[in-house]
């Protein structure tokens, strides 16, 4: 759009036509205060804080509703404007309870900040303030009406952003109040966005309520450990008697791929870390019972037994099951450990999407994957299968808001009337399980239409396909329903479109990372087949070239008595995949986990592991965006999976340096030589770390493995500086190995929804406390009724 020139406070400002004055001022570094204005939400003009003087206008105008025009002369800082702001704050504080010392928002409250910046120190009101008792709307949402300034941000983010419309306004005038949809309680997606967006302490979190104050916490922006979307969640950490305590999760840092968004799992799903069932001590099976022991004993025993079995029976007798929630570094290290130390290719994980087929089909089509950020900008989107509202909340947010803000077109094909239907420009219902036929039809196989045209006529399908073929920059999303050949068909369709891109939806936080890092019996990191001698074989000095066993085959192997040892890292195949626990009764089973899961219960050694919030590394989300995982807390008695793997290797008598290429630094320069006061040491360390130059002094440093990943795994050679700064980096699959065709039945979707998260979700109190857990959402019922 054409640019418009205007003057704000004597400063010449140029901004695109159609820009709001408040944004234009912000771009010029002039702050115009506001409560009700929030980018990407509808305009209100209700708080009157952004009043500015515009020349030739008799009254002060709200900067948040005024669109800039050529030659506009604006004053944002005059006596009149200052008085207006002061007056507004005075009025707001009139009925405000001023209970800042006990208010959870105290210290991060916009009303406090505004009062300090623009308000008056004294109140002129001496009459009684209006009071109304606090209400609990759900286990996680509390509402305190007297603190509310009625900016309607919560109402808008819930309705416009989340498409839930659970909040509204009741009564009028000074009695106006925000109300929940079920009279006295909320029935919604419990995302907590209303709490995050509340500028004051009117909406507070039940999980964080009265626990501490914002400045008492350390705020660590890390990647969520639940679904595969990779939202950034900021964890508030506080010291406590047992180490550190995660006090809250929120979306304080809006720099993540999720922007303003965070769902219930990202916000409240950290409480498993302090669940009383958490393991704090390693366990060894003695006389048939799991009994506590020291870490030394556990490592000794594990190392000893694994070495014996390897030496006696060969690597073929050992199998490894990896995790979809451990970091890329741990996954990489695990498969490297399995292949180079244990000498086995029997390594697998809980597969939730067919990434190898995607890679295989993508061969020769560079840049065909979309990042989570690109999805928000895409002019058209096609979703086949899956229910992002429940399984991929961030993806659903991106889709919804792309439709709302950019008028993007959404094409839906689903067997269920999913909630996103409300945003769809077209919705085609298909019989359950016919997603592959849709892919085939899109790829040009017209005969497939018979299988899918149950509710919509074949002609309509053909018109629909023609319309899709005309869409520039289409993003195609598909869930686990599309596997194997269907993936290839879909890519065939997408490759013929101009700039079309794909997103393959996995289910767990690092499902994609586990696949990328080669937790497959037949694939090395970067989808290189084990049978082909390549970089990895050279670098690691030998990899077994015979493809190993998949999860199901491992069980059969064990049944036949050929599996002598099983090493499970952060997985619960007994519960999640229905593996028969008794087949492993003859095997030596080592399990690393947070809790005594069904799988851990059959183990000979249980090692208490740290979760993703207690270690550092990287995650790759389902789109392939690489993000940093930062250590936030620590729980006494646990160790990260990285350290455990290294120490087991050490106990087996392996030269640890061969496994983790850490450096040989001899002296730690703590800044003495460079003047620690000047901050020079800090600056140097950032630079050094970004370039991978700092001495990795410890074999437990995941950065040492990240160096190797970036060196050897195609697509992961992204900017380290950006990664360390907390930004997301899209990893391209174009340089990956040829991938492979797997048995489609090996893919088992996670069956999770908004309020569950595999085994981990069982230990999240908040997720289990909300009313909606296990129920249909009200909005879904509406959609179904339509």
């Amino acid at each position: 759009m054409a640019d418009v020139n205007l003057t704000i406070d004597g400063k010449k400002v140029t901004a695109p036509a159609g820009t709001l004055l408040i944004e234009a001022a912000k771009s010029a570094g002039i702050e115009v205060p506001s409560f009700c204005y929030y980018p990407n939400l509808s305009l209100q003009g209700a708080c009157r804080m952004c009043l500015v003087k515009i020349e030739k206008m008799p009254k002060l105008q709200t900067a948040c509703t005024t669109v800039i025009s050529e030659g506009m002369m604006v004053t944002t800082d005059s006596d009149e404007v200052r008085q207006a702001r002061k007056g507004m704050i005075e009025l707001l504080l009139g009925n405000h309870p001023l209970d800042c010392p006990v208010c959870d928002a105290g210290g991060e409250c916009e009303l406090q900040d505004m009062t300090f910046s623009y308000g008056a120190a004294e109140s002129r009101f001496i009459d009684v303030k209006n009071h109304r008792d606090e209400q609990q709307w759900s286990p996680v949402v509390y509402f305190d009406r007297p603190r509310c300034i009625l900016c309607y941000r919560c109402v808008r983010v819930c309705g416009e952003g989340m498409d839930v419309w659970a909040l509204g306004v009741q009564h009028r005038g000074v009695s106006s109040t925000i109300v929940p949809n079920q009279e006295d309680h909320l029935e919604c997606e419990e995302c907590g966005m209303c709490i995050d967006i509340c500028p004051v302490g009117a909406l507070t979190s039940g999980a964080y309520r009265y626990k501490t104050r914002p400045w008492e916490m350390k705020h660590v922006g890390t990647t969520c450990t639940h679904c595969a979307d990779g939202c950034k969640t900021t964890l508030g950490v506080r010291r406590c008697s047992t180490g550190t305590e995660l006090v809250r999760g929120d979306n304080r840092d809006k720099s993540g791929i999720n922007g303003d968004f965070l769902c219930i799992k990202g916000r409240y799903g950290f409480d498993f870390a302090h669940h009383e069932d958490r393991l704090h001590q390693p366990l060894i099976r003695r006389n048939g019972r799991l009994t506590p022991c020291t870490w030394e004993e556990a490592f000794q025993l594990t190392g000893e037994r694994l070495r014996q079995i390897r030496d006696r029976e060969g690597g073929d007798a050992i199998a490894v099951i990896g995790s979809t929630r451990t970091t890329n570094e741990e996954n990489y290290l695990l498969q490297k450990f399995a292949r180079t130390v244990l000498g086995t290719n029997h390594i697998d994980h809980h597969r939730t999407a067919d990434y190898p087929a995607l890679v295989a089909a993508l061969a020769g089509h560079p840049k065909l994957t979309a990042s989570m950020r690109e999805l928000f900008e895409a002019p058209a989107m096609l979703l086949i299968g899956n229910d992002p509202t429940r399984q991929h909340p961030l993806l659903a947010w991106q889709i919804r808001n792309n439709v709302r803000l950019h008028r993007a077109r959404l094409y839906l094909v689903n067997a269920q009337p999913i909630k996103l239907r409300r945003q769809a420009s077209s919705f085609f219902a298909i019989p359950a399980g016919r997603e592959a036929e849709v892919a085939a039809f899109l790829a040009g196989q017209d005969s497939a239409v018979a299988a899918i045209a149950s509710e919509t006529s074949p002609e309509a399908w053909i018109r629909w396909r023609d319309q899709l073929r005309r869409e520039p920059k289409l993003v195609v999303m598909f869930g686990s329903e599309i596997r194997g050949d269907a993936v290839a068909s879909l890519i065939k369709f997408a490759a013929d479109l101009p700039e079309a891109k794909l997103i393959c939806l996995g289910d767990y936080a690092n499902s994609r990372g586990a696949a990328d890092m080669g937790l497959y019996p037949d694939l090395l990191p970067g989808y290189h087949p084990v049978t082909e001698v390549g970089e990895f074989h050279k670098d690691w000095g030998g990899v077994p070239e015979k493809p190993g066993l998949s999860l199901r085959q491992m069980a059969e192997h064990a049944q036949a008595g050929k599996l002598k040892a099983l090493y499970v890292v952060g997985a619960n195949p007994v519960e999640e995949l229905g593996l028969d626990p008794f087949v492993f009764s003859q095997s030596f089973v080592v399990v690393e986990d947070l809790f005594l899961t069904e799988t851990a219960a059959i183990a000979d050694v249980v090692l208490p592991a740290a979760n993703a919030y207690e270690k550092s590394g990287t995650f790759t989300n389902t789109c392939g965006d690489l993000q940093l995982v930062k250590k936030a807390g620590e729980v006494t008695g646990t160790k990260s999976d990285f350290e455990i793997i290294v120490r087991i290797a050490d106990a087996m008598g392996v030269a640890v340096r061969k496994l983790v290429p850490f450096g040989r630094g001899s002296r730690a320069d703590m800044g003495q030589s460079r003047g620690a006061q000047s901050g020079e040491a800090d600056r140097h360390s950032v630079w050094l770390e970004a370039r991978g130059l700092e001495p990795k002094m410890s074999p437990f440093d995941p950065m040492a493995i990240l160096d190797e990943i970036q060196r050897l795994v195609p697509g992961y050679d992204v900017s380290r500086l950006h990664l360390l700064a907390g930004m997301d980096q899209h990893t391209s699959l174009s340089g990956s190995g040829p991938g492979t065709k797997h048995d489609p039945s090996a893919i088992m979707p996670a069956r999770d929804d908004l309020f569950s998260s595999g085994t981990l979700g069982r230990y999240c109190r908040t997720l289990n406390a909300v009313l909606e857990n296990g129920h249909k959402l009200a909005a879904e019922e509406e959609v179904a009724a339509e």
Binding site: L43, G45, R48, L91, N130
Partner: protein
């Protein structure tokens, strides 16, 4: 039905058919009814607008915007349907003129709406009547039924090929909905909260279509203008303030009531001649010239012509024509409190200054009137009102602030008489009533 009053100075235009049984369409037709529509059907839309513009007819709702000019803002071509909205949500304290029009002459409103539809090319009109006037809905609905039956409404009206539908809609009792954009929200079934402007209703209004919103009295004047001609109408009033208007005289007068007087009629004469002067034993203290939202005039200021521009010059407004006479038995603090209680109750709560400002003004005035006032309060009342003035989302905040400022300025003495715990000099102070807020 209320008794009708009359005075020789009256120029009966809108009130021409009052008391003559014009609610029945036959009687209405005898009294020149629906002649203007017939005439308008033969006119080009531009010439209808020009006629109304030339007549100097200004909005009778309070703002006083030239009606013809307002109509001319409606785009000729619009992808969305256009609408005519008759604002009959007459809620201004002191104003009771639209009620009489609906009661005595409902067809003139229907006729006016139809002519406006012809002028801007709309095919649907809504008559929105105040919730508390529900008893008038019978009359209005009957009138609409009769108009349909006689072919003045519906498809192909009077065989002209022009379709026009009129619907009646009742409010739910909110002063705020008298504001035009809040009226549209209410009509669309939402909370009665004003919209952000621009865009103005003439461009984006009801359901996104261009919309003309006029007061009932304005629309009821239109047929008379078309029949009598713009020049005739304009000459009834003063320059730029064409025609006549209904003035609602209330207070301790000898002959209170609704009088139709030419624009520019002297206020003093209106009180002492038309209204019959003050009732026995009472003297004039102040006058509210145009409904409770207009600044008060003191006894010394009443020698002004009642038109939009002259009242603006003396620092007040003509408003909606509700002339309220305040006599010497009234306590001005109580008066301010009464006004503020109304606005506090009617504030929609959308924007801070109005929602919180009216509440605090009411609280302060309540305490002040019952003897709990301190000297600082007097300045605070003014300070608070000035903080609201011109900074609210819609004019309701101004409507609450303007009379308060004028009362505090002009009757400061009375406020000072309430200080130091003294009881109200004019009436027994009541205990501080707890306002039923946050109910």
């Amino acid at each position: 039905m209320a008794d009708l009053v009359s005075h020789p100075d009256e120029v009966k235009v809108v009130s021409k058919r009052f008391g003559l049984g014009a609610t029945e369409i036959d009687r209405y037709l005898e009294l020149d009814g629906y002649k203007a529509v017939r005439k308008a059907l033969g006119m080009a839309p531009e010439s209808i607008i020009a006629e109304v513009k030339d007549s100097g007819l200004r909005g009778r709702g309070g703002a006083g915007f030239n009606t013809g000019l307002k109509w001319s803002f409606v785009p000729k071509q619009s992808p969305k349907p256009k609408y005519i909205l008759c604002n009959g949500d007459e809620s201004e304290p002191g104003t009771c003129k639209d009620r009489l029009i609906f009661e005595h002459d409902p067809h003139s409103v229907i006729e006016g709406v139809t002519i406006a539809g012809l002028a801007v090319g709309a095919h649907v009109g809504y008559i929105y009547i105040r919730g508390e006037y529900r008893y008038l809905s019978e009359i209005m609905q009957k009138a609409i039924r009769q108009a349909y039956a006689r072919g003045f409404l519906g498809k192909n009206i009077l065989g002209s090929g022009f379709d026009f539908d009129v619907y009646w809609h009742g409010g739910a009792g909110a002063y705020e909905v008298g504001e035009e954009s809040a009226l549209m929200e209410s009509l669309e079934g939402k909370r009665g909260i004003p919209r952000i402007r621009p865009p103005f209703p003439a461009v984006v209004g009801l359901w996104g279509g261009p919309t003309v919103i006029n007061n009932a009295e304005t629309l009821a004047s239109v047929p008379h203008i078309l029949l009598g001609g713009a020049e005739w109408y304009a000459k009834l009033g003063t320059p730029k303030n064409g025609g006549t208007r209904l003035f609602c005289l209330s207070g301790r007068l000898n002959r209170p009531g609704v009088y139709e007087l030419p624009m520019g009629y002297n206020l003093k004469k209106m009180i002492y001649d038309v209204g019959g002067g003050m009732a026995q034993g009472h003297t004039l203290k102040a006058v509210v010239p145009g409904g409770s939202s207009t600044p008060l005039l003191t006894r010394e200021e009443i020698d002004v012509p009642m038109d939009f521009d002259s009242l603006m010059k003396v620092g007040s407004m003509l408003g909606s024509g509700g002339v309220v006479i305040v006599d010497d038995s009234a306590c001005m603090v109580k008066f301010a409190l009464r006004i503020m209680s109304f606005y506090q109750h009617e504030s929609c709560g959308w924007c801070i200054p109005c929602r919180e400002g009216t509440d605090w003004l009411k609280k302060t005035l309540t305490r002040f009137h019952s003897g709990g006032g301190v000297r600082k309060d007097i300045d605070d009342l003014q300070y608070l009102s000035e903080n609201m003035l011109g900074r609210t989302f819609c004019p309701l905040g101004d409507a609450a602030a303007m009379p308060t400022i004028s009362i505090v300025k002009k009757f400061r003495k009375e406020f000072e008489d309430h200080l130091d715990g003294k009881p109200c000099p004019l009436e027994k102070a009541e205990a501080i009533e707890r306002s039923p807020v946050m109910a």
